[in-house]
């Protein structure tokens, strides 16, 4: 696939570095004419992916990095976020919509990503997630 815009950087495991990456993507999508509804959903998804990588994957260890790849063209957005942690099994994440988990302050990220993105796929180790969003969807 041909990409018109590519971002490929390894960022430090600092929350502010994550915020800066997310802001870069959101500003790019807004200036590229992506519908606000999609920008909102991508924002939620990217926030979850990047912050999970920094906080849970790399445990905020600043000696570790998060590799962020973002690509767009006229129709599609591709995101890959990889941390240097031990990974996790998405199937092991408790259902945040179950009554007993509703008021917990974690565990909503995966659900939000799956709802807002067209495709969400983790690698086998569980330390890398790829997401795709199509503008027309």
């Amino acid at each position: 696939m041909q990409w018109a815009w590519t971002y490929d950087e390894k960022i430090a495991s600092r929350v502010q570095a994550g915020v800066d990456v997310i802001r870069t993507l959101i500003e790019h999508l807004e200036s590229s004419g992506w519908p606000p509804k999609h920008v909102f959903g991508v924002h939620m998804s990217m926030e979850e992916a990047v912050m999970n990588a920094i906080k849970h994957g790399n445990q905020r260890d600043e000696s570790k990095q998060v590799h962020v790849i973002m690509k767009t063209n006229e129709e599609s957005l591709y995101i890959k976020v990889t941390d240097q942690g031990d990974g996790f099994r998405p199937a092991d994440v408790p259902d945040c919509t179950a009554d007993e988990n509703l008021e917990k302050t974690s565990g909503r990220g995966l659900l939000l990503m799956k709802n807002y993105m067209d495709s969400v796929q983790y690698n086998e180790k569980g330390n890398s997630v790829e997401m795709i969003k199509t503008k027309s969807n």
């Binding site: 606000p36 924002h43 939620m44 926030e47 912050m51 945040c96 509703l102 008021e103 917990k104 659900l111």
Partner: protein
Amino acid sequence: MSEFESITTSQIDDITIVSFNDHKVMDPARIQILGEELLSLVDPKDPSKILINLDNVRFLSSAAINKLIVIDKRLKSVGGSLKLCAVSSQVSEVFAITHLDSVFEICNSQRDALESFAG
């Protein structure tokens, strides 16, 4: 008017009305302050009625939503109550996806919420 950094408060009878100062609630440092300021509104000796008006909020990160969950739980634990109102369609969708719309009491408008408090 209040002297908070991340929120603005006003009072109608025994109801504290809160609005967020940021349109996009996503900066971790600001969210930390937001959480502390929201919790400071809860007086265990005088169970509070708090209405958070989200009219000007266009984006709420998960971390910010967690602060709403925390204040809701704290208020319930002391016999107070929290309502949200004027939630944008996009933020409403987040609450629906995560089923938090069954945790929070959400009213369409501030007027509806105030009437709801009045019972």
